[in-house]
């Protein structure tokens, strides 16, 4: 057999059929479900009299429209509650395991999959959510799908899929203090553009990736879709196995040893060919921040905002002008010192324990500035409880931040956690689109450390000044 990349190995192992001119029929090992993109799929099953083919390979949670504060009857959002009730009813009717509002295992779907050991190397993982690429950090082939496809997978455990091309992102060098995997992925998206990965499966390789822990790797893979790639993968290694060992749904005892032996084969062959390849040096990276209205509009924190009059970036000039007008930021100078109203720490990009620990370590003994409010939303209830066991909640609260229940929250602002029109938010989430975090809200994406330092100063701040 000719040399194959990691992606090809996992893809080939799951193709059930492939007719000439048609997409492949791909078997799905793990189907994750959430409140927002599943109701119409279950309705479709009901209409056609179908069952969920493999409830044992299907896991549901509530994350997108869930409140992060205790809900009083007067304050509840009836539509959101009806949607959550519908998910509960659907899961009961079709026999799907659900981590509902009262579950300690509930959380953002891309946080709980890995945390419970459901996400494993070599699996195909899908979810009606574009950030499913997160699970690629384990060497899984994971991608977001639409609701029609959710229905297909529920009914058949299969998905029609065209094989993407291969794109290797090789990252050598070691990141400087104050620079994180969030900065790396923002720099990559800025370099290749928000559609630079369209039609490709990304594979991240190199010493900088190997040096990352699993949570950092998840941040990188999470934002593959922000470069247009539905999936981004990292070959599993000892770091991966160590993370998975002992987790609830990870194999145990002899099955564990056999699994690890099999997982070790999930690496790209040395001679594997890629349709596209780029090299990246992590040692030169600075903390990154976005200035515009998509994640590709990112710059090193000390660099000037691009000027549409001398636009040397990948960003189309009209889009750049529109973004600067929406953001009301000045071209030609850095964002350092720019005013802020809100700080959001959370999301499937940066709402894991290590993200909270980093921010808390910085905030310990410090206060956030008077001019802003800060929301800390753990990625899952398990993250929340562990953070509380470590006293991180006290640090955040004493610093002046709000400590909330797990959920997607202000990342997409459909649960009531939102930024007011015209306000500026520095956010550890993954999207800074117009209105994403509230109608008229203006978002700056950054790492947890940059967000924490900026919270203390009250303006956009280079965390390296503190190191």
């Amino acid at each position: 057999m000719s040399p194959r990349a990691l992606f090809d190995k996992v893809w080939d192992a799951h193709v059930i059929a492939q007719e000439e001119g048609s997409p492949a029929i791909l078997y799905i090992d793990l189907h994750l479900i959430h409140d927002v993109t599943s109701p119409q799929a279950f309705a479709g099953l009901r209409e056609s009299g179908s069952k969920v083919r493999r409830p044992d390979k299907t896991v549901a949670t509530m994350d997108h429209s869930t409140p992060t504060l205790p809900v009083t009857f007067e304050l509840r959002d009836e539509m959101a509650w009806a949607q959550l009730d519908q998910l509960k009813a659907n899961c009961e009717e079709f026999g799907v395991r659900l981590y509902a509002m009262d579950s300690d295992k509930r959380g953002i779907v891309h946080v709980i999959g890995p945390e419970l050991g459901l996400t494993q190397p070599g699996l195909t993982v899908v979810c009606g959510d574009s950030h499913t690429s997160t699970h690629g950090a384990f060497g899984a082939l994971a991608f977001g799908i639409g609701t029609s496809e959710v229905e297909h997978v529920l009914a058949t455990q299969c998905l029609l899929q065209r094989k993407p091309k291969n794109f290797r992102v090789h990252v050598d060098g070691f990141m400087q203090p104050g620079v994180s995997s969030k900065d790396l992925i923002l720099a990559l998206i800025a370099k290749i553009g928000v559609n630079g990965g369209t039609g490709y499966a990304l594979e991240y390789t190199g010493a900088a990736i190997r040096a990352m822990d699993m949570e950092q790797r998840m941040t990188v893979c999470n934002m593959s879709i922000e470069a247009g790639a539905r999936t981004g993968m990292i070959a599993p290694d000892d770091t991966t196995f160590e993370y998975l060992s002992g987790r609830e749904f990870a194999p145990k005892d002899d099955a564990w040893d056999a699994a690890v032996q099999k997982w070790r084969e999930l690496v790209s062959d040395p001679e594997a060919e890629y349709d596209r390849s780029i090299d990246f040096d992590a040692a030169n990276l600075e903390p990154m921040i976005t200035f515009g209205t998509n994640p590709g509009m990112a710059i090193p924190i000390t660099a000037p905002v691009p000027d549409p009059k001398e636009n040397h970036s990948l960003i189309p000039t009209a889009a750049l002008e529109k973004a600067l007008a929406y953001m009301d930021v000045a071209p030609g100078k850095p964002l350092l010192g720019h005013k802020l109203d809100v700080v959001f720490l959370g999301s499937c990009a940066n709402g894991r324990l290590s993200d909270l620990r980093q921010a808390a370590q910085f905030l310990k003994g410090r206060k956030i500035a008077d001019n802003l409010r800060m929301l800390v939303v753990p990625g899952s209830q398990a993250v929340k409880h562990q953070a509380e066991a470590e006293g991180l909640d006290r640090i955040f609260i004493e610093a002046g931040a709000e400590w909330r229940q797990a959920g997607c929250s202000m990342c997409l602002a459909m649960n009531g956690d939102e930024v007011a029109a015209g306000e500026y938010v520095i956010s550890t989430s993954n999207r800074n689109y117009e209105g994403r975090q509230g109608v008229g809200a203006r978002s700056f994406l950054a790492s947890p450390l940059t967000a924490a330092a900026s919270a203390v100063e009250g303006v956009i701040t280079d965390v390296r000044a503190y190191l």
Binding site: S22, I25, Q83, Q86, G128, I145, G146, E226, G228, Y433
Partner: protein, 194 residues
């Protein structure tokens, strides 16, 4: 839903990298239905905070009423996987989107809802934009059988579409039935791997 031949004027919104949060903001995703989303299409660009239509927005132009073709720029539909974006476009009345390129998930979602994504090269795109800008009533036509797009000036071009998607659109067929026709292979795979 079978795809019929289209002859229509077009709505011109040739912006690049328009994401699905713009097509339909997240606050409208609390529905458990597919229909009725057309009124929220491009909501934050289309309406003021009081709910009044912005007169200068493309969808609110008199010439846009009844148009079933939308012209966008590069990378249309990037971002979230929400199929609500395709549902909203279809519910509004669009049957085809012409763009320089499409995001992968959006393209898949569109095809599953009878919405035809037509990718054209930058040069033709610029000509088309100029023609429609000069005459918003200008008629375009789309023939799926021949994979042909006829521009207002009579220029005819062939657009790419894979044979599988074309068949699904023309026959109004259900992809689920296609997958189900491989039941034996699925069962065999499961008994080998479980």
């Amino acid at each position: 839903m079978k795809f019929e031949r289209i002859k229509s004027s077009a709505v011109l919104l040739p912006l690049d990298d328009v994401d699905t949060d713009q097509i339909i903001p997240a606050r409208y995703l609390k529905t458990i239905k597919k229909d009725g989303l057309g009124k929220h299409l491009f909501a934050d660009w289309r309406y003021s905070s009081e709910g009044d239509e912005h007169g200068d927005f493309a969808l609110n132009q008199p010439s846009s009423k009844g148009a079933s073709i939308l012209i966008m720029g590069v990378n249309f539909g990037c971002g979230s996987s929400r199929e609500h974006a395709a549902w909203a476009l279809v519910d509004y009345g669009f049957r085809a989107v012409i763009a320089k390129s499409f995001a992968d998930i959006f393209r898949t979602n569109a095809l599953k809802n009878g919405l035809l994504p037509i990718a054209i090269d930058a040069e033709t795109h610029a000509e088309l934009v100029a023609m429609v800008a000069a005459n918003p009533e200008a008629q375009l036509s789309v023939d799926l059988d021949d994979q042909q797009l006829v521009l207002p000036n009579g220029t005819t071009l062939t657009f790419p579409l894979d044979p599988f998607s074309k068949r699904i659109l023309i026959e109004g067929a259900n992809e689920l039935d296609y997958i189900l026709s491989f039941e034996d292979a699925i069962s065999a795979y499961e008994s080998e791997h479980d």
